[in-house]
């Protein structure tokens, strides 16, 4: 009676070839899933959530698609993870990183089938990745010195990023928006300062960048609708009934009149608080918490604009842009820093009233108002714009730029091929495979655009044989074109992150020779 079972019931174990197959299959399936969204002519996906209401998202952002998938395959999870990280770190290239990792694994599968040990493949891939990075480094353009040119670079990058998204129709418009917004940040990567407000209605073209700050709130009744040279107090304090915070305190009275008295005292307390706030010499008061009718009325009487219940981010951002501090106590009016702005007014966007702060002290912040036909369009537009903003803000810090349209992949592939020829031993197969995986990206871009990829990539390869060539795939005309002339650029930082994380992920999956799955946690039967 041999005991071969050492794991719990329902737990499973897969070994050697089978384990490797399982992870390859999983990773490649994920790759095939997002592959079609790559490039300017990539297609979108509809994602329907299983939650209540079965909300629908239409997107072609790799990270968003992968985030919403429920995946069981461990290798696929690794890929989803890298796409998420790419999103967090650089914001764009989320699809490319998954596709490249998938292609690397696809090539590795062939090599494993040809009896090459995974460790050999890994060391080959490592050499190749290093070589590819260096090749790309040699060809970067850095226009840090020249502000004009750099701005042009940014514009190109934004257009390239946006061209694969829903905004491609108005990409010039949006690229301009994104570049302007990022330039205002002056080198900081804090995208918090850029607020994006979505308002359905109008068309995407009606979206605009506002230099001030827009708060999605209404002005209280009977309060001034327009204030010039506003002094703003940003607060986070209870303006409903101010609770006694001492533990265990409670009101115990024995007659109705006492209740009235205490109520009066409470009111008095609130009145005092309001008086203190007014004593700051302000004409606008923004609170994070609710403002009840009573204090609101008091504010209205004093001619102060009171805005209630702004969300936390809104408050922080407002404090940031107006240069005030978030106050919670009001006893020392002389030392509280007030925020300033030139003009506060109520504006209408579509059918909604919003409060607009213009002429703010800090020039960094700005608001982008997106308009569009439906919520789906707006959501997708926001995601696309977010990608563009991320890439731009990263590029401002790392000003190196490379060309786009499959150009970097071809440059890297050429260098890696060169390396393969010089490397003795089995590793050279792996290095060659790496180059094939790189070439797969322009191939997919061409395929997605409905072009003859085999022909185009062959042409591209021939072009790249010449030194210093700028050839890439021009999807619009469907031929090989000069990327520098067409103004298609990408950020070096994004490309580098794609290359390195994809290699790392592929390596991780390749090293696995056994998958042990624990028994799924038993759900309590609530039925």
């Amino acid at each position: 009676m041999a005991i071969e079972r050492i794991l719990k019931d329902d737990a499973s174990e897969e070994k050697g070839e089978r384990a490797r197959m399982a992870s390859f299959v999983g990773a490649i399936a994920i790759t095939d899933l997002v592959k079609t969204t790559l490039g300017p002519k990539g297609m979108d996906k509809i994602l329907q959530s299983t939650g209540r209401g079965q909300a629908v998202t239409v997107t072609n952002d790799g990270a968003t698609i992968l985030k919403s998938l429920h995946i069981d395959n461990p290798a696929a999870k690794v890929l989803i993870d890298i796409s998420k990280v790419q999103d967090d770190e650089v914001g764009d290239g989320t699809t490319s990183v998954v596709v490249l990792a998938g292609e690397l694994l696809r090539e590795a599968e062939k090599l494993v089938a040809a009896k090459i040990h995974p460790m050999t493949i890994i060391s080959g891939y490592r050499m190749a990745a290093e070589c590819a990075r260096n090749a790309l480094l040699q060809r970067v353009v850095d226009n840090k010195e020249n502000a004009e040119k750099f701005k042009l670079d940014l514009m190109k990058i934004a257009m390239t990023t946006l061209s694969s998204k829903i905004l491609s129709q108005d990409k010039v418009h949006f690229a301009q928006l994104a570049v302007d917004a990022v330039m205002r940040l002056k080198g900081s990567t804090n995208l918090e300062a850029i607020q994006i407000i979505k308002k359905p209605g109008g068309s995407l073209k009606d979206s605009f960048l506002d230099e001030g700050f827009i708060l999605d709130k209404k002005i209280g009744l009977g309060q001034p609708k327009r204030i010039e040279n506003a002094k703003i107090l940003v607060a986070n304090t209870a303006m409903d009934t101010d609770k006694v915070k001492i533990y265990g305190a409670r009101v115990r009275v024995d007659s109705m009149s006492k209740v009235a008295e205490i109520e009066g005292a409470e009111k008095e307390k609130m009145r005092e608080k309001v008086q203190k706030i007014i004593a700051h010499g302000i004409n606008c008061f923004v609170n994070r918490q609710l403002i009840y009718n009573f204090p609101e009325e008091l504010f209205a009487d004093a001619g102060i604009l009171a805005i209630e219940h702004a969300d936390f981010d809104g408050i922080e951002r407002l404090a940031l842009v107006t240069g005030g501090e978030i106050a919670s106590t009001f006893d020392n009016p002389e030392s509280v820093k007030l925020g300033h702005c030139k003009l506060i007014e109520e504006i209408m966007i579509g059918e909604d009233k919003l409060i607009h702060f213009s002429g703010v002290e800090m020039g960094q912040a700005c608001t982008i108002v997106l308009r569009g036909a439906s919520h789906h369009v707006l959501d997708e537009a926001e995601r696309s714009l977010h990608d563009a903003l991320c890439v731009l803000s990263q590029t401002v810090n790392d000003t190196r730029v490379v060309l786009g349209g499959g150009w970097p992949e071809m440059v890297m592939a050429k260098a890696v091929d060169e390396l393969a020829r010089q490397t003795p031993g089995k590793k050279s197969h792996a290095i060659e495979a790496f180059s094939r995986a790189l070439v797969a990206i322009p191939t997919i871009i061409a395929d997605n655009a409905g072009l003859d990829s085999a022909d185009l990539v062959a042409q591209l390869r021939a072009e790249h044989h010449k030194e210093g060539c700028n050839a890439g795939i021009d999807v619009i005309s469907g031929s090989v074109g000069d990327m520098a002339e067409l103004g298609i650029s990408e950020s070096f930082k994004v490309k580098q992150a794609v290359l390195l994380s994809a290699t790392e992920a592929a390596e991780m999956i390749l090293r696995v020779d056994e998958i042990i799955t624990c028994a799924p946690r038993k759900r309590e039967d609530r039925m």
């Binding site: 079972r5 991780m508 056994e514 624990c518």
Partner: protein
């Protein structure tokens, strides 16, 4: 199921609900146990050595771990069999004691069991086998002592330590930048080590990770990092020469433990209470200010009002800092943890040269760095990496490297790695076997064979011909009487582990052999397994 009957033919019930239990006895039980132990060892065998493969482990909640650390694999494997659980324990105790060699010890135990099975088949009594193993392990441990080398390093000469850590790291996924990580680990250990007492408190080294960036961005921080930000967004992001008040009381009105009620029945009471409340906040902040604190670190939350008061009085604060971190901060800054505002004094403040907030990537992740502390002994290793799994794996690898460095500081004897120590022991045990009369001789020889299995697995994982390589190395060792020949896993071209600078700590190796022998003895002594049958 064996049953006993009385003279009337009625069965004696010895065990409770006897008929529902399965029972294995005698040789069968031993064989079943051995095969379970072997199965565990077989899983780990491929993870051994610098070219070992990784395993994917999927937890009951669907989270994925990728690792080749023996202890972690076994920990998460969801093992059901009792004997397999023993193996898991074995690896865990090696992890606690030494921190490294967790895979090796299981492979070793597996090999011993395999040999024991063969001896059992030849009719040797399990206790005799166990005794033979015991003798053999003693010989092996002594021999290890004999071939070990003292190994010199100092606070300035850290190179040998770095080399050792690199050996440990080379079997992990991080071997791409093992040099970098090894240096970090050694520096971290040295900065917390007490070289005179030869002790290292690894608790002083905190290993933190944050997703994003590259592995190469991993850094050693002479101080503490806290995954928190300032309580008020407008507080200063950088404080030099900070005097830190470390509090475990919330910035809130006190809550007496005894049940009490404050009754409000008149307007006056209401107002006094309100004033009292304001005074509380004011007092609290004032007390911190009075003792000269320039930064408040608090275990609890702040009330909005207190928060603003702090901001207002220009006293930056951090809230919701965990207990462990709080302690570390206290150790590092030389401050005392203060449980009550009344007890706050200037002497109890911690000092740090620089406190700064750092943000990462495009998301608004922020971390607080506390550097140049008064007591610079506490350090943090801050890991960056492509994804969460990578960071987890790096954490585990760094932990191993830290343990190795610590062991070397405790005891600076080393043996050479790459299987050379095992081969040398195997030769010694084999030679010693002939001197023992009695059945134990066989067991001792079997032990020698089992020792060979570690280098064999190394060779196998490195894609070499296991038997050919092993016999070649063995003969070389005997011919040249040099115990430094091992398996050339990295294809460097030499078998001499001294030239390759591959070595391991002596205590680690000894522990491996002793622990493995102990567990195997325990398993061999079992001759009856009673388990409730499935229903």
């Amino acid at each position: 199921m064996a049953l006993a009957f009385d003279e009337y033919g009625r069965p004696f019930i010895i065990l409770k609900e006897q008929d529902q239990k399965t029972r294995l006895r005698g040789l069968e039980a031993q064989k079943a146990n051995i095969s379970a132990g072997k199965a565990v060892a077989r899983i780990l065998r491929t993870s051994l050595g610098p070219k070992g493969m990784d395993k994917i482990l999927q937890s009951p909640d669907g989270d994925v771990t990728i690792t080749n650390d023996g202890a972690t694999i076994l920990e998460q494997m969801d093992v059901d069999n009792q004997i397999a659980k023993l193996m898991v324990e074995l690896s865990r105790s090696q992890d606690y004691e030494i921190g490294d060699g967790t895979t090796g010890v299981v492979v070793m135990a597996g090999a011993l069991l395999e040999q024991a099975e063969r001896l059992l088949e030849r009719g040797i009594h399990p206790i005799r086998i166990a005794e033979g193993y015991e003798m053999a392990s003693r010989i092996a441990v002594e021999h290890l002592e004999h071939i070990s080398k003292k190994f010199d390093f100092g606070a300035t000469n850290i190179e040998p330590l770095v080399q050792t850590c690199m050996t440990t790291l080379s079997s992990k996924i991080v071997n791409r930048c093992k040099r970098h990580l090894a240096e970090i680990s050694v520096k971290a250990v040295l900065s917390v080590a007490d070289l005179e007492r030869k002790d290292v408190n690894l608790d002083m080294i905190k290993v933190e990770g944050k997703v994003g960036g590259k592995l190469e961005d991993t850094e050693l921080i002479y101080g503490i990092t806290v995954d928190k930000d300032m309580s008020h967004p407008q507080m200063p992001k950088q404080i030099e020469d900070a005097k830190i008040a470390i509090l475990t009381c919330p910035f809130e009105p006190p809550k007496p433990k005894t049940k009490h009620k404050v009754d409000i029945d008149t307007v006056e009471k209401f107002q006094t209470l309100r004033l009292q409340e304001q005074k509380y906040f004011d007092d609290m902040v004032q007390k911190c200010k009075d003792v000269g604190a320039t930064l408040v670190i608090c275990q609890w939350g702040f009330d909005d009002e207190a928060n603003h008061l702090l901001m207002h009085r220009n006293l930056p604060a951090v809230r919701w800092v965990g207990g462990v971190e709080l302690e570390l901060i206290a150790i590092a800054t030389g401050g005392r943890i203060v449980p009550r505002f009344q007890e706050l004094t200037t002497e109890k403040l911690g000092r740090a040269g620089l406190v700064r907030e750092k943000s990462f990537g495009t998301t608004k992740d922020k971390m607080l760095y506390i550097e140049h502390c008064a007591n610079s002994r506490a350090v943090t290793i801050f890991i960056r990496g492509g994804n969460k799994m990578m960071i987890e794996e790096t954490k585990r690898s760094i932990h191993d490297a830290l343990c190795v460095a610590r062991n070397l500081i405790r005891n600076n004897s080393i043996v050479y790695g790459g299987g050379s120590a095992e081969i040398s022991c195997s030769i010694a045990v084999e030679a010693a076997a002939d001197k023992y009369p009695g059945v134990e001789q066989y067991a001792i020889r079997a032990f020698a064979d089992a020792l060979d299995s570690v280098p064999m697995a190394l060779a196998e994982n490195s894609g070499l011909q296991p038997i050919e390589t092993l016999s070649a190395v063995k003969s070389q060792q005997i011919k040249e009487n040099n115990p430094h020949y091992g398996i050339d896993c990295n294809d460097v071209g030499t078998n001499d582990m001294r030239q390759q600078d591959v070595f391991e700590t002596l205590i680690g190796k000894q522990q491996q052999i002793l622990l493995a022998t102990q567990v195997v003895k325990m398993i061999l002594k079992i001759d009856d397994v009673i388990s409730p049958s499935d229903y």
